[in-house]
């Protein structure tokens, strides 16, 4: 499909984006900047090192492990082993909302725990202090679980957080203690941390509680972190549909739920990048298939619910889901009808995350807006091109350093939820069972796909395309807005949300309408700076 709006020649634009770089840098960047063709899907260079000195959106492995995956579970005490900063910066800044069932239930989300490593620990080792910190956290809070996160110096000085955790777990007796080697220098972005987190949660938590889960249609929600209450909206919809949510990885989750997750019959994955490892490992060990879904966008939510119904193959469930969709849709449609005349034909760019830059295109499409360019901050090729490229991805030195767990079928708990034949049948019906088609097949021909976009490239893109809205994160927010273009934060939602499901879609439409049509953008020039204002002096002279 050709773009509905006029877009400039992308090959010329690609030239402009890289011509200021030193030759070596330009050569490298050119492989990450691709002109899309949804039919033939070109290769995108992704998950490679950022050139030193380039202003990047990316963060580190620790951010992906502690900040993204482990952060949202409310009853784990997360102790960051290292100097104070790492724990400080990840303190409440990701908006992972959580709702304990009772006011007395444990909730450590608002706390920041650190060993506050000092020079003496860097020189003589910090394990002793770490163990003291674990003991103190236990004495103060008696949590069910304590997780330890390694920061850069920890790996270099050789503190063994895993041994310290094992020792303390044994000593404490009724508290699960486990560590993560998620030093910031591992991998090339947050992505390494997601993988490390998946491994740790799978090894130390999943499978610890074999109490059968109640309910007829039991699933886990993977890769949903309840930013701005996204998981609450999905929970609301599931409940209406009669779907039982066993565990969420990890928005609004608890230790107990995660330990019990292997009792579900399906894993649905929202953010493929951050959690696909968990889906794969649970499939191998417990026989639970995973399926890619998307609850960002009203149509996508309806489609995803129908896929879940199809998976369980139950007529009653199908009918109930149709009833829920029929009940929710008119509210959404009423808002679209009101707003769309104001957003139709406008353009957007999305450079964010490892899945959001894909999924939010659905919401823009529902508003009649065109995505001119998109890219991820820390994704891999499969998130762009689809999982069929997995066998073709070369494992480089940076990825090799991230452990791949050897997983095999659990002798007692492995139970295939669907036979091979049933799975094939579901795939034939269009369900993405253990698969993900990636972002590019959905994007228009000649749109630009850019991995790990740099600050320089973003500014150039805005200059050349003049999009009506740009989606990225807090570091980009005010840069882009200084250029007179509204920036929607798709990590923190500009402190709004939720954006998932039906209620979320309504919130998003309203926010985008507000942003692209906000009167403030017409007030930037002072009246006396506008050309048509003429000379004040002159007008006085004529009076």
């Amino acid at each position: 499909m050709e773009a509905k709006v006029l877009i400039p020649d992308p090959s010329r634009i690609k030239e402009e984006l890289i011509n200021k770089y030193p030759a070596k840098v330009a050569k490298k960047r050119s492989k990450s900047i691709v002109i899309n063709d949804p039919e033939t899907v070109p290769e995108v260079q992704a998950n490679v090192r950022t050139v030193p000195g380039i202003i990047t959106q990316r963060g580190c492995s620790y951010a992906g492990c502690k900040g993204v995956v482990l952060g949202p579970t409310r009853d784990i005490v997360n102790i960051v082993h290292g100097p104070i900063g790492c724990s400080f910066y990840a303190w409440l800044t990701r908006r992972n909302q959580t709702r304990p069932e009772k006011p007395t239930d444990e909730n450590y989300i608002t706390y920041c725990f650190s060993t506050d490593m000092q020079e003496e620990h860097v020189v003589f080792g910090g394990e002793k202090k770490l163990k003291v910190a674990i003991q103190e956290a236990y004495d103060l809070f008696h949590p069910k679980a304590i997780a330890i996160f390694s920061t850069c110096p920890v790996g270099l000085i050789g503190d063994d957080v895993h041994a310290a955790s094992r020792e303390m777990k044994e000593k404490l007796g009724d508290c699960n203690v486990f560590g993560f080697s998620c030093e910031g220098y591992r991998g090339v972005s947050q992505s390494a941390g997601h993988h490390i987190a998946n491994n740790g949660v799978f090894k130390h938590m999943v499978g610890n509680n074999n109490t059968p889960a109640e309910g007829k249609f039991k699933l886990n929600l993977l890769g949903e972190y309840n930013i701005g209450g996204d998981a609450f909206e999905i929970e609301r919809i599931f409940e209406k549909c009669g779907i039982t949510l066993v565990a969420s990885f990890s928005g609004n989750s608890t230790v107990r739920a995660i330990e019990n997750a292997h009792m579900a019959d399906l894993n649905v994955i929202l953010c493929h990048r951050s959690i696909n490892y968990m889906g794969d490992m649970m499939e191998v060990k417990y026989g639970i298939p995973w399926m890619k879904v998307n609850f960002v966008g009203a149509e996508s939510s309806a489609k995803s619910l129908r896929k879940i119904a199809e998976y369980f193959g139950d007529e009653e469930l199908k009918a109930r889901i149709e009833a829920v969709i029929a009940e929710e849709t008119p509210k959404v449609q009423a808002i679209i009808d009101e707003i769309r005349p104001r957003t139709e034909g406008k353009t957007a760019m999305l450079f964010v995350g490892g899945s959001r830059a894909h999924h939010y295109q659905d919401l823009f499409a529902e508003l009649g807006m065109t995505t001119l360019a998109a890219g991820y901050e820390f994704a891999h090729r499969d998130d762009y091109e689809g999982r069929e490229v997995l066998p073709k991805i070369k494992i480089d030195a940076d990825s090799k350093n991230i452990e791949e767990l050897k997983v095999s079928a659990d002798p007692e708990l492995y139970k295939p939820r669907k036979s091979e034949a049933e799975l094939e049948e579901l795939k034939a019906k269009g369900l993405e069972i253990n698969g993900y088609e990636g972002m590019m097949k959905q994007m228009q021909k000649k749109s630009l796909v850019i991995d790990d976009v740099s600050h320089y490239e973003s500014e150039k893109l805005i200059e050349l395309y003049k999009p009506d809205i740009f989606c990225a994160g807090i570091k980009e927010k005010y840069v882009v807005q200084k250029m007179g273009v509204p920036l929607k934060q798709l990590h923190s939602y500009d402190y709004g949300g939720p954006y998932t499901g039906f209620e979320g879609a309504i919130n998003f439409y309203k926010d985008i309408d507000r942003m692209v049509n906000n009167p403030v953008w017409k007030l930037i020039k002072a009246p006396w700076e506008k050309e048509e204002s003429g000379s004040l002096e002159a007008s006085y002279v004529t009076q």
Binding site: P22, P52, P83, T93, C112, P153, H455
Partner: protein, 449 residues
Amino acid sequence: MAREGLTINPAKTCQPIGAMYAALGIHGCLPHSHGSQGCCSYHRSTLTRHYKEPVMASTSSFTEGASVFGGQANLLASIETIFSVYDPDVIAVHSTCLSETIGDDLQQITKKAKDDGKIPEGKYVIYASTPSFVGSHITGYANMVTGMAEQFAVSTGEKTDQINIVAGWMEPSDMREIKSLASLMDAKIVLFPDTSDVLDAPQTGKHEFYPKGGVTIDELRSTGDSKCSLALGCMSAEPAAIALDKKCKVPFETLDMPIGLSATDRFIMALSKAAGKPVPASITAERGRVVDVMADMEQYFYGKKVALFGDPDQIMPLTEFLLDLGMKPVHIVSGTPGNRFEKRMKEILERAPYANFKNGAQADMFLLHQWIKNEPVDLLIGNTYGKYIARDEDIPFVRFGFPILDRVGHSYFPSVGYSGAMRLIEKILGVLMDQQDRMALEEKFELVM
């Protein structure tokens, strides 16, 4: 329960963010973080949330290889890329716990960059060692400001009538206010660093990668010939003044940051003396207005108990100001360690022998909260994270310090000088009187207060 290993809800963060903030106060400067990408990303994010402004900075993007073999190649590559793509006048490199642990020597690497011709003519690379496992963000700020002085100041042997004012960690609004007071007094000053017109830039429809503000390189060079330095804060500003004295024989005086009445009085007198200029009537009148409000509203302040947390150079004069207002600062914590800080607090707290004060290790907000539970307070003052304690205990809360992530104003309206004192008074009165209104029984609800 006494703790030795665990810090809970810290009242400090790490050195590099302070270095990044300070470096933004040089015109045409790109701060560079020599470490993993996460450091740079976190610092930029935090500063951006605090200022709601672009915060540009680059990173050496360490991977496992660099961490094992040393970060020299990454820094040299960074310098080359930065000058060709972002074209700054200065790159201000700060280290991180990662590069410090592996022992990267910034002086040696920047020298190599120069020798290898990677630094274009007329451009500069300065550096500061800012290991996250020593001190706090305040230490990092002080180290970068010291780096500016040491690496730029030149002594020609001929003294000028210029006064250096070394800004402690304060807001762009505060720096603007200091400059405005000096200009009212007709004192010739150079203020560094200076983040005004950098982190409070106007909306113009154009992103200025290097906004118009910031101390210029020429100004920094000239600090070596200044007749004296006034360091505003013994923790965040004094080290740079000491360095200038050592390198260029510029005598200095260290003052509390001019927050509140008494500290501003001392600053005004010191500036007047250094400049050899009388205090203009307009400043005296402004002071008079502050005292007038203090007297008019004394009943709302007197005897009220206050808990506060934050950074040393702000905590010290603020505590003194609370005492001047007749309030009782009963609980005070700061995560930043330091003998100068402890000594000065001891002096100030001679007027408040009842006060709990702790700084350094485990001087965190969890401790502060415990203290508050044991002895409740009428007012809490501190950065945004205080809102959780304020909500739990239903305490009126004034946001003050770094970071403030949930309100605006701090970067536009000063906390220093007499106008800063007036702003603090207004904020404190506002929350105290709002609370009184909110809690008042129907028959006790007052129209005039």
